[in-house]
Amino acid sequence: MNRLSNRFFTSAFASPLFRGACAAVAAFLVLGLFPPPAAAAVEVFATVPEWAALAQEIGGDKVRVYSATQGLQDPHRIDAKPSLIARARSAQLVVATGAELEVGWLPVVVRESGNARIQPGQPGYFEAARYVAMLEVPAVLDRAHGDVHAGGNPHVQTDPRNLFRIGEALAARLAELDPPNAAAYQAGYRDFAGRLRNAVARWEKEAAPLRGVPILVQHKAFPYLQNWLGLTEVGCLEAKPGVEPSSAQLAGIVAQQAARPAKMVIRAAYQYDAPSRWIAERARIPAVTLPFTIGGTPEAKDLFWLYDDTVRRLLKGLQE
């Protein structure tokens, strides 16, 4: 080693701060490479509350679930926060929506975590949208059409029937990652699917009056819900996905009411209420806030309450 680098290292090592840093590095390395006997539970990092809840339903006490976001956050626009990187670091399974919903933050979080198990392509990386028949897959990819997703509309959780396929795949993935508990995951899924089947039947019965009801949506967040309950979307407040509507656009929507009257305007709870309220006042129709995910409304406490509350709020909107 030549003189200059010698000088560099001697004087660098002489610094007490540097020695302190080295000690800290050593301590963390020991802890990191040889962690204390790992807790049996599979560490799950879910990007949104609905997948956190699904993983919990299937995995029960065999999983420890962290949700990167809560119900009032726009899942498109999350910062790649240090807290998320820290959580992703120790995760064994990332459960994401996919279809580019989390493209603005998850890739950075996953890469920066230094966790090889959860990189895309590994068994520890799960995308729900891969197991669903996607709607609104764009024929043309051009930003002139706003923030479109190449894989189709990513808001698949608004149709509970999608949870059957996603849940089945998630149970299989958990079983692959944790073979000793494979039977527990299968049983967890079967139990969940049974309860969900009954609930879907009930929701569909309750929601029968909603079939064919014309609605306005603030963001194209509900095609799967519309498809499920037979709601008819006659207009979208955001002329381009992800771009806030201008007052001229809103005025156009109100004018359109005469020709194609909508019964209500719906928005996801995480969205600004101003545009849908504005429309509601001018068009004299109710503005309905849907939970969109768990925690979006106080009532939407779990996956079952999520659809309970969604149907209830839509029916209430219809009666107003």
Binding site: A21, D74, Y270
Partner: protein
């Protein structure tokens, strides 16, 4: 299925018409047709017509049967228990194959994005812009923005996963006469244990703003201290390797070390084996409640210089040249705090960030008279050189609607201790505290386009108060990767 019927019928008639035509034409060509021939043809046509009509009738009957069966099935399904219906739906959803389109080979192309940046800038006409009391990072060339309309460099970015173990990225800065490789590196994906390895030309992980490219800045220019410490690019980059480790803790702890060529200011390219620069950094971060998140860090950069040149003024007011050789050590403390109601930054958010720098340099100063103007160093004077200088900035940016943001920034530097040894008798040693106050407002049509207006009162040059107005645009095209926190 209903639409298929006319299609069948049309086809049948088209076929029926085309057959006699094709038979008739050669007959015409052969000369006037006999009556018996015509009768034969008519008979044939009649036969064919009958045959087709029979077939069509049979098809229509089968279709009607199918429709009625389907109708019955649908009615019976409706009549049956709704739970069974859900099971059917579930089965049909299951039967739908997951959309996994097999893309063409071009699907493996890297994510490509282009950043277009340009500005209009109004400021004082100062021939040699340099921050008073600090060694000019650019040496002889003064790379400040031009006045009036100008194009910043355009950035071309290409990035992709290389294989399951590595990811690569290239970032080119394009200007009129050159394309500069700003970053070109590969990064590990498969090491695990929280370890990240990056190698190539990298922006160092020191400080907070250092890794961010100009298009991600909240102001049109870099903080003064970044310009003073690292030059006009406002960032320290080098060719080398970076090793990072994220601790398995709920609080974010990231430790990193870098070794590299160290060719960039404050070091110089020194044509040697081994490394010319080393950096250490530690970052910590986390959330406080749903609304607040933070990151803080300390960093250390050590590099060395040979023949690092700058202009000086001698005690008689004549120009002199000085060359530094020695070591340069820089300490950085940084923090950033972000607020967003319910952690949802789309509509409203606030970001407060600040960084403090201290640099110590030790070595020799070779004072010269390269242009033969007869300055105090005409014979060449070699002296000791030592300096301890510091500076900081603090900035806040508030996004108050999805489209509008406003921000303020204050920069303050201290030329600190500058010991020129015996050359203190030959050269003017400036002692000054440069400062700058900046206000900005920007409008974003979407995440991909931004227009910014900025006012700055720049007192970085002693005796000059420069009021600067900048109107800047930043446009992002293509698949641009997510930004860091």
């Amino acid at each position: 299925m209903r639409t298929a019927v006319p299609t069948v019928r049309e086809l049948a008639f088209a076929a029926a018409l085309s057959v006699p035509l094709s038979i008739a034409s050669p007959a015409h060509a052969a000369g006037p047709a006999k009556d018996t021939d015509l009768a034969q043809i008519r008979a044939q046509l009649q036969q064919m017509k009958d045959a087709y009509e029979q077939r069509i009738a049979a098809l229509e009957q089968r279709l009607a049967q199918a429709e009625s069966t389907a109708g019955q099935a649908a009615r019976s399904a409706e009549a049956s228990a709704t739970q069974a219906q859900v099971a059917v739906q579930e089965a049909s959803l299951r039967a739908a194959p997951p959309a996994a389109p097999a893309g063409p080979a071009s699907g493996f192309n890297p994510e490509v994005s282009l950043i277009l940046q340009g500005q209009y800038k109004s400021m004082k006409d100062v021939p040699e812009r340099a921050i008073t009391g600090f060694w000019p990072a650019g040496g002889h060339d003064h790379g400040a923005d031009p006045r009036g309309f100008s194009l910043d460099h355009s950035e071309l970015v290409m990035a992709a996963n290389i294989d399951p173990w590595w990811r690569g990225q290239l970032m080119l800065g394009l200007q009129d006469d050159k394309a500069e490789v700003e970053e070109a590196w590969f990064q590990s994906l498969g090491i695990g244990h929280g370890i990240g390895l990056k190698a190539g030309r990298i922006r160092s992980g020191i400080g907070y703003l250092n890794e961010q490219h100009a298009h991600a800045w909240d102001f049109a220019d870099a903080p003064l201290i970044y310009k003073a410490m690292f030059g006009e690019h406002g960032s320290y980059a080098q060719d080398g390797v970076q090793l990072k480790w994220v601790a398995p803790t709920e609080t974010f702890v990231e430790l990193g070390a870098e070794l590299g060529r160290g060719a960039a200011f404050p070091g110089t390219d020194r044509n040697k084996n081994g490394s010319g620069s080393g950096a250490l950094f530690a970052h910590f971060g986390g959330d406080v409640g749903a609304n607040h998140s933070w990151r803080t860090g300390v960093s250390y950069l050590r590099t060395a210089a040979r023949e690092r040149e700058a202009h000086f003024t001698d005690v008689g007011g004549l120009e002199a040249q000085g060359a530094f050789a020695g070591n340069s050590r820089t300490w950085i403390a940084d923090f950033v705090w972000k607020w967003a109601p319910n952690g949802n930054p789309k509509y409203q958010n606030f970001k407060l960030q600040g960084e403090w720098f201290q640099r110590r340099e030790q070595g020799t100063l070779d004072c010269r008279d390269e242009d033969g103007v007869g300055n105090a160093c005409a014979a060449g004077v070699l002296s000791d050189y030592a300096s301890r200088q510091s500076g900081w900035y603090l900035q806040g940016v508030y996004q108050f609607t999805p489209n509008w943001r406003a921000g303020a920034r204050y920069d303050r530097l201290d030329s600190g201790r500058r010991d020129f040894g015996v050359n203190a008798a030959n050269l003017v040693v400036d002692s000054y505290r440069p400062s700058r106050a900046t206000l900005m407002a920007d409008y974003s049509w979407s995440e991909f386009s931004r227009l910014r207006l900025q006012f700055a009162r720049d007192r970085s040059m002693q005796g000059i108060t420069d009021n600067q107005v900048t109107l800047q645009y930043i446009m992002s095209l293509g698949a641009h990767g997510a930004h860091k926190f």
